[in-house]
Amino acid sequence: MGDRKLSVGIFKLSSCDGCQAVFFEVDMPFEVVYWQLGKSDSVFEDVDIAFVEGSVSTEEEREKLYEIREKSKLLVAIGACAVSGGIQALRNFGDFENVLRVYPEPNWLKVSEKSLPIKEVVKVDYEIPGCPINAQVLQDFINAIKHSRRPAVPNYPLCMQCKRLGYACVTDLKGLVCLGPITNAGCGALCPSVGRGCYGCFGPCEGANVKAFVSWLKGQGLYSREIFENENAYAEPIREVIQ
């Protein structure tokens, strides 16, 4: 890439802005050319890296995402909305007519039936999961790109991180439901650290056997659908079991 600084765009679809706010906490060695939240002189032009927050939940967002894909060399989905469709993807399991009935004039709504992860609309090069993403994971990702290393985003179960940090297992100790065995590490095992079970905001880890986990929960008399109705409910392996 020579001496030229890499150019970056930070984009937002349907989301809460929490993931892009994490960019205020990292060292950014690249030139940010587009960022609606951070600067007024944004230019929507070709970029080396596009970070995309949010799910695709309207036709306008779909069009915008096509354009972002066209203009970026590397497209990185950041956060549970972009990776799994977000908490708003719970509507994907409901009857859309029913969802709309919250509104007196449902015909006026310009919103898609489903809230989709961006990889169901365009090709995605990397995913950084989490609700919100973790600042250290983002910094490691940026540093890897800076040094032309292949970025390694944690994709192993939270249990591994939890054990390394020396926390007592809340399932063993208290009989609590904990999604640690099937959830991506990265948050620092925050929920077990305060004595509660992980509720899955980093989404299913690689190779998560959600079906086996569900049947184990059922065997223990701990299963309820609500456990999986979180920010990553529409991630593929979870979607299958709660549909």
Binding site: D17, A21, S40, S57, E61, V99, W108, V111, C131, P132
Partner: protein, 416 residues
């Protein structure tokens, strides 16, 4: 028609539409086009503690506010009184969010406007000290939230009755040190904001906030209006109503008698400055009430300094205790209203015998300010004439709108 789209350095997606005839600006207004996320639908059937994990996702910049308004409503339904040490920790937690959110707005979004620069990074090239100052103050706020809430964006430690666990002494000591350093900087910054040049622009707002309490209100007190009237929290819906315009995916809010109003740091300061510590009060008394929205940065600087001192006071007297109190499930309906960084945040829930949500209604501060922001634009056109375009984005940015919050609770959406 011309557009300023999207409005930059604000949370969420909105635009300003300009109507021109023969090169002359005739009118301009605000359009919010952030997609709705149907929270009122998806909260139905959820247990109360799960609601406390879901509602922060409405806003990544003020998640604590959503948790605190919801937990207040739930504990009212359950008739549950939490002990003083939990009340104090919640207030300290909320101070953390004011510090974090206000410093993000002041230093990273708003301050470049006073130097006519496009971003905090551009400002840092001239005044690196401001960026360092802002980041250090924000860090103190973030660390307070982490200490008590476990994570500063979407905290994980909040439950009905208190917390899952209480902070450790070691971490608390570390955070106190950060607070002390940040307090010195916040005081310096407040003095700086008092000497900024502000455009000549005043408006006759009706200021609405919590108040009528012995201290500066965060979750306490009644709703107070700057015309002298007071409203009990549970009667909010008798006095305020939401309405819809075809141009926005967020609801507007007004008093039922037709008046629009302003919530947020300026409203809180104007309505409650008498409760501030003497030295802070004396710094600003002479310029109150603030009617110039460009001076909102002063109100945020005052509140940042106050919140740092208040968090220190509360954490210093922390003595530990039980993390939460138990309760029995009860059905019922309840209201929670607390002061989010951007103003009063209304929640109402109906809970059934199993402790599940049957109805949820939320009115965020930015919906309530939408009417006033639009009136600011129209007044701006009269005062600044054709120069208004250069200022239009700044006029909106003065109010630190949080558009993701605003657009999730619309009853009616854009007309085709």
């Amino acid at each position: 028609m011309k557009e300023i789209n999207p409005i930059s350095r604000v949370e969420g997606l909105g635009k300003i539409v300009v109507k021109e005839t023969e090169g002359r600006i005739e009118d301009l207004w605000l359009e919010i086009y952030e997609a709705p996320r149907f929270f009122e639908w998806l909260l139905k059937g959820k247990g109360m503690d799960q609601v406390l994990d879901i509602v922060p996702r409405i806003c990544g910049l003020c998640p604590v506010a959503y948790q605190m308004s919801a937990v207040e409503a739930f504990e009212k339904i359950l008739n549950l009184q939490v002990p003083e040490h939990i009340r104090n920790l919640r207030r300290a937690l909320y101070c953390g969010e004011w510090i974090s959110s206000h410093s993000a707005h002041m230093f990273l979004l708003h301050l470049p406007d006073y130097f006519n620069l496009p971003s905090a990074l551009a400002l840092a090239k001239e005044r690196q000290d401001f960026l360092n100052m802002g980041l250090r103050i924000k860090e103190a706020g973030n660390r307070i939230i982490e200490l008590i809430g476990g994570r500063h964006i979407h905290p994980i430690n909040i439950r009905v009755g208190g917390f899952y666990s209480l902070p450790s002494w070691k971490k608390l000591e570390d955070v106190l040190k950060l607070i002390e350093e940040a307090t010195v900087l916040a005081e310096e910054f407040l003095d700086f904001t008092l000497h900024l040049d502000f455009p000549d622009f005043e408006r006759d707002y009706l200021f609405v906030s919590l108040g009528g309490w012995e201290d500066y209100p965060i979750t306490e007190g009644k709703i107070v209006l700057s015309d002298g009237s007071q409203i009990e929290k549970e009667n909010y819906e008798e006095y305020f109503e939401e309405f819809q315009k075809p141009t926005s995916t967020a609801m507007y809010s007004k008093l039922k008698d037709g008046r629009h109003y302003l919530v947020g740091a300026v409203a809180r300061l104007n309505n409650n400055y008498r409760t501030l510590p003497k030295d802070i009060r004396e710094k600003v008394e002479g310029i109150l009430p603030i009617k110039n929205p460009f001076k909102s940065i002063i109100a945020r600087a005052v509140e940042t300094l106050y919140a740092l001192r208040e968090a220190k006071r509360l954490l210093e007297k922390y003595e530990g205790g039980e993390p939460y109190v138990d309760y029995e499930l009860k059905e019922g309906e309840g209201v929670g209203i607390t002061e989010a960084p951007r103003g009063i945040l209304f929640h109402r829930y109906r809970i059934n015998r199993e402790g599940k949500v049957e109805l949820a209604k939320i009115v965020p501060p930015t919906s309530q300010n939408q009417f006033a922001m639009e009136e600011d634009l129209k007044a701006g056109l009269k005062v600044f004439n054709q120069e208004v375009l250069a200022l239009a984005e700044k006029i909106i940015r003065n109010h630190d709108p949080c558009i993701s919050c605003a657009s999730h609770f619309l009853k009616l959406v854009r007309v085709p």
